[in-house]
């Protein structure tokens, strides 16, 4: 057993935060105490971690759940007849059930564990895509997409002789929905769209997009990597066919992600990787594949990571996604106002609805230089093209500075960012 946190509450049983403990509007400063890494100083300054869109920090509950798994349970799953294997299998199944509950999936068998969002998108491209897309067909993406929701489709289109089409954005960084119907043609085999832009923070109108795609009979994949940590997602209500996300951006560990897919589509899709666990029987003449989701989970999965992801989900459920969204919304409004007062600062992307991230430029100072100066002031941001080079080209910038928030982000973090930006402006005055 790892060191048990003994606060005033004391007991092990109470280490899980009960929902009742949190007020309707939770206190981010209090949540901050759950994240050990945030206590440190960098370059002699308190850490203001504003690179959450790259990866979020992990609450103690996640770290302890993974430690506990390795100290008490570790075994391979679906194999052993012994107690540890039974327990590990149960924990892995429970993690799948926790994911299903969190995204409102009707059936836990619709939840496929992957290494992350990237692998989930590639899985769909290589199975669903390869069987459904042929020469002359089209795959539709949007100008907001991360490389991981562009390149797998580009590879597929190249292989099949299909065409990749792109729904454009306007100058604010919002999708041009009036162009959508024109792009949803008789040869469109799939629409792949992000829930939230990783670079600009744009929230896309998923419900409307899905409605229009469905009217044309086009399946929809939603990239939820940046959406789920801030807004959650209801796969059943969305009408989407696939939903992909990563554990590490929602306070869980790296190395685990999820592909949710509509059951009938998953059943129809061929397996991707071959190996153990994805089979029912193997002979040199014929292999019978396992049922979904195991058909897509060849080899020993990331078991401890699944346990960690489940702990992250429980943590988020205890606080409540609406409370997190409300806090972050308020914080982004505060940040936008504060940044608006920094001389020479220009926002890149001013979407109608924003979540998670703010991209900007400081005068003609290169984002990389801004990032270095902010770092020396204890402020961690991302500077670069955010793995969205086509988007950067569309906006006419080589790179931006991106500040991105999480449930533990406070106004003090934003204030530190603003102070650092003033210092950067001074260096390059």
């Amino acid at each position: 057993m790892t060191a048990v946190k003994t606060g005033p509450e004391g007991s092990v049983a109470q280490r899980r935060i009960a929902p009742a403990e949190w007020p309707a509007r939770f206190d981010p400063a209090r949540a901050r105490a759950d994240f050990p890494i945030l206590r440190q100083q960098v370059h002699g300054k308190p850490l203001a971690y504003l690179d959450n869109a790259a990866t979020a920090q992990k609450p103690r509950a996640v770290l302890e759940a993974m430690d506990r798994y390795y100290e008490e349970t570790n075994a391979n799953i679906h194999r052993g007849v012994h107690l540890l294997s039974e327990r590990a299998t149960k924990l892995h199944d429970d993690a799948r059930a926790a994911v299903a509950r969190f995204i409102h999936a009707r059936d836990a068998r619709e939840v496929v564990f992957t290494r992350g969002t990237t692998e989930a998108v590639n899985l769909v491209a290589q199975t669903f895509g390869r069987t459904r897309v042929s020469a002359g067909d089209e795959v539709l993406v949007t100008a907001l997409e991360h490389h991981s929701n562009i390149v797998p489709w580009q590879m597929l289109c190249r292989e099949k002789g299909a065409t990749l089409r792109v729904l454009p954005i306007d100058d604010r960084g919002d999708l041009q929905l009036d162009a959508l119907d024109g792009l949803l043609g008789p040869r469109t085999r799939l629409l792949a769209v992000t829930q939230v832009s990783n670079a600009l923070g744009t929230v896309t109108p998923i419900a409307e997009i899905v409605r229009r795609a469905k009217a044309r009979g086009v399946p929809v994949l939603v990239d939820g990597a940046q959406g789920i940590p801030h807004l959650g997602f209801d796969v059943a209500a969305s009408g989407a066919d696939f939903y992909a996300f990563s554990g590490h951006k929602m306070y869980g560990p790296t190395g685990i992600g999820v592909l949710w897919g509509r059951r009938e589509l998953l059943e129809e899709m061929p397996p991707w990787q071959g190996g153990g666990d994805m089979i029912l029987s193997v002979s040199f003449e014929k292999t019978v594949y396992n049922h979904v989701p195991h058909k897509f989970e060849a080899g020993t999965p990331a078991i401890a990571e699944a346990v960690g992801l489940a702990a992250a989900i429980e943590y988020l459920e205890a606080i409540g996604m609406p409370a997190i969204a409300a806090h972050e919304h308020e914080l982004l409004a505060y940040a936008l106002e504060a940044l608006g007062e920094v001389p020479g600062l220009r926002l890149v992307g001013t979407p109608r609805e924003r979540s998670g991230a703010i991209s900007f430029l400081l005068g003609d100072v290169h984002p990389h230089d801004v990032g270095t100066i902010l770092d020396r002031h204890g402020v961690a941001v991302r500077a670069g093209h955010h793995c969205a080079q086509p988007l950067m080209q569309r906006l006419g910038v080589a790179a931006t500075v991106r500040a991105s928030v999480a449930l533990y982000t406070t106004r003090e973090d934003v204030d530190a960012l603003v102070r650092g930006l003033h210092a950067a402006a001074e260096v390059f005055a």
Binding site: K45, H368, T372, R376, A398, V427, F428
Partner: protein, 152 residues
């Protein structure tokens, strides 16, 4: 403030000046060699041109976009390599690379001349690639490689 003085080591006046007003900036007409340099991490993208005659670089210029460090490095480099042979340029790059990765040593001022202003870079490991980008591109150009070089 300590952080400001730290930053001052990186962003020395000379560096800031070359970053803002790069020398030898723009395409070199009559170049005998050229190559692109790309840092995919931050999108820095330069083309370095050289005119080689009689076994030495007679002129060097560059164009493109990048951060203050990469631009200043390209600016200073295109000045100091004039009149130097390939072997001299390689030797200079070796000393420069040691400066930006390990920090200044006694005697650097003489052997590195103007390049010594990049002595602060070694405290910023993520910026070493910025400082080295133009050098990699120049050496690729002199090697006659048609392919763009990348820091990755």
């Amino acid at each position: 403030m300590t952080s400001s003085s730290d930053l001052g080591d990186l962003y020395q006046e000379v560096v800031l000046d070359h970053g803002k007003r790069p020398r030898n900036f723009g395409k070199l007409e009559g170049a005998t060699h050229h190559a692109e340099g790309l840092n995919p991490l931050c999108g820095d993208h330069f083309t370095v041109y050289a005119r080689v005659e009689g076994g030495a670089v007679r002129e060097a210029r560059f164009e493109g976009s990048g951060c203050a460090i990469s631009k200043a490095s390209a600016s200073v480099m295109t000045g100091v390599v004039k009149g130097k042979s390939r072997a001299e340029i390689d030797a200079l790059f070796e000393r420069f690379h040691r400066l930006v990765t390990e920090g200044p040593r006694p005697g650097d001022e003489e052997s590195l001349g103007k390049l010594a202003v990049f002595g602060g870079v070694h405290d910023y490991p993520t910026r070493v690639k910025c400082a080295s980008l133009a050098w990699h591109a120049l050496r690729a150009a002199l090697d006659g490689q048609g392919q763009p070089i990348s820091t990755e």
